[in-house]
Amino acid sequence: MSEGAVTLAASTRRRGVGRRVDRAFGILTAASGSLVLLVLAYMVLTTTNTALPVFRAEGISFVTGSEWLPSRGVFGILPFIYGTLVTSAIALVIAVPISVGLSLYLTEVAPAWLRGPVGYAVDLLAAVPSVVYGLWGVFVLLPLFLQPIAEALGSAFGFLPIFAPPASGISYFGAGVVLGIMIIPIISALAREVFRAVPADDRYAAYALGATRWEMIWGAVIPRSRAGLVGAVMLGLGRALGETIAVALLVGSRPSISASVLQPGYSMAAVIANQFQEADAPQIRALVGVGVVLFAITILINMAARLLVWRMVAER
């Protein structure tokens, strides 16, 4: 691509000092770039090494055990893994339809003057720090929506195990709803880009066949966007899995597993934030172990999402 630039640059390198400075600068930039890889590798090694005694002592029961009794040195983190997965799943159930519908509206339906302002407003959600979401969730959303909705669900569908009472807004459900709000801007920002990338010719072809607007969206836009949408959802999921503070304030901090989403539980990130300050040395090792497992889960999700998004961009 920059053939011309390369030959020109080479001709300036004849003088000795300049050449050495040039090479040093190149090495400096390469070292800075490698820093990202080194930091990531060092993070994995140090934390895994710290948690190793707990992994050895607990074995597989570290991730399959449901008893978390720090005072007795028993560390089973299944309740936290369960809580992380359940709250993230609730977040996706809420955020995916809203984000996809919103993005379709903004790219396919909305008049031009409306797109900018609505887009900005939703993007503002991404700027709100998670501790502010937590504060707002506990003191505003909980009494206003979460508690009444949880009680209504509990009394209407309480016969189903997943809505079994006693119903509380401080629960998997409450934390999941706030997580869902937090990931709407992430999913919708990417979804808008993905929809915009669908070629106009595909839309015209659908219209030419007599499709209504919805049939055009369903038949031309959605199939073209599938890979990109999956990537967007997985990035939102990655964020939800690792989100700490808002969940710590809303999930209820009970280290147990319950089938009902209306009951309090715990999540991996939340237990680290909540118990860290009062933990003794063995418990800190166990909490680092929780972090390593959380890291492994999020990194797998993120790598898969990046590969999907990259593949879609490369196909263009």
Partner: protein, 306 residues
């Protein structure tokens, strides 16, 4: 489908309305109603998405302003969450110190790494690895970064501002690398060649031509990273720990930060502590929004555009 040549309207937008001629016979009522129901459903999702935006900003402004005053901005916490008065000056100073140090560390490394990706590594193996793992690193849970800094640095050196700054720098680094790379890619080849034609070496071209012309875009990325770091709470719990008093020491003494003070206030059952948390949330949100806004201004001033 293949017979008719593709036609684009002058406005070119994908939402160009359906040509009337094609509606001659029109879809059946059932299909029309499906279409209308779908539009209504999409509109409903817009309302559902805007509802939290309105509710968050309304309550933070209302609750925040009622607890916000000069004393809040200029004084530290009282030693009890029950007591009224005082403010989050300890947190504000901690946030400024830690975000400042983190920025000072992350920006040079991040920008140099981006220079490597664009000017040296290009599509080589190392460059592709750095690109991929920078993207992956932006998805690492921030609480995990906190755990890492705790095990690697807090255990030997103790809690303190430098530890918090290290965690924030690690969070900022991949954001800066990727946003700067995008900006450097936009610098036109012509001005690089002009620089080489004048006899400049590569490092001179990069430092005097490429980086200055991409500066507004780089600034945008840095400001967004700063906004993200200023709002981080979880990694600071494990590295800065928090403190009720003002400290400016970089090492050996726990330090507060605005998000930490808000988190503590949100967990307390006492009204005075909760009121301070709301005022702190307003203060933090304003700081984050100012940086986000500055980022927009910087990007609109960029002389090179897509």
């Amino acid at each position: 489908m293949s017979g008719a040549p593709a036609r684009r309207s002058a406005s070119g937008g994908p939402t160009t309305p359906m040509p009337d001629a094609l509606l001659a016979r029109g879809p059946s009522p059932r299909r029309l109603w499906t279409d209308r129901a779908a539009s209504a459903a999409m509109l409903a999702t817009v309302a559902l998405a805007l509802l939290p935006v309105v509710l968050i900003f309304y309550y933070i402004i209302r609750e925040g302003f009622s607890a916000m005053n000069w004393e809040f901005l200029t004084q530290s916490m009282p030693y009890s969450f029950r007591k009224e008065g005082g403010g989050f000056l300890n947190g504000l100073i901690g946030t400024l110190i830690m975000v400042g140090v983190a920025t000072a560390v992350a920006v040079p490394f991040g920008v140099l790494a981006a220079v490597y990706l664009v000017e040296y590594g290009k599509n080589g193996l190392l460059a592709q690895l750095i690109r991929f793992f920078s993207d992956v690193m932006t998805g690492v849970p921030s609480v995990f970064v906190g755990l890492f800094v705790y095990t690697a640095f807090v255990v030997p050196f103790g809690f303190g501002a430098l530890m918090g700054a290290a965690a924030l720098a690690i969070i900022m680094l991949p954001i800066i690398v990727r946003s700067t790379e995008e900006m450097l890619k936009l610098v036109p080849l012509e001005i690089k060649n002009a620089s080489y034609a004048l006899g400049a070496a590569k490092w001179q071209t990069v430092t005097r031509v490429v980086l200055p012309s991409a500066l507004p875009g780089i600034t945008t990325g840095v400001l967004l990273a700063v906004a993200r770091a200023a709002g981080e709470t979880a990694p600071l719990i494990l590295t800065a720990l928090g403190s009720l008093t003002i400290t400016t020491k970089l090492l050996g003494e726990p330090i507060s930060a605005l998000p930490l003070a808000i988190f503590d206030g949100a967990r307390t059952p006492f009204a005075a502590g909760q009121a301070r948390a709301w005022a702190g949330a307003l203060e933090l949100l304003l700081i984050v929004l100012v940086f986000t806004l500055l980022a927009r201004v910087a990007s609109s001033r960029s002389s090179i555009s897509r």
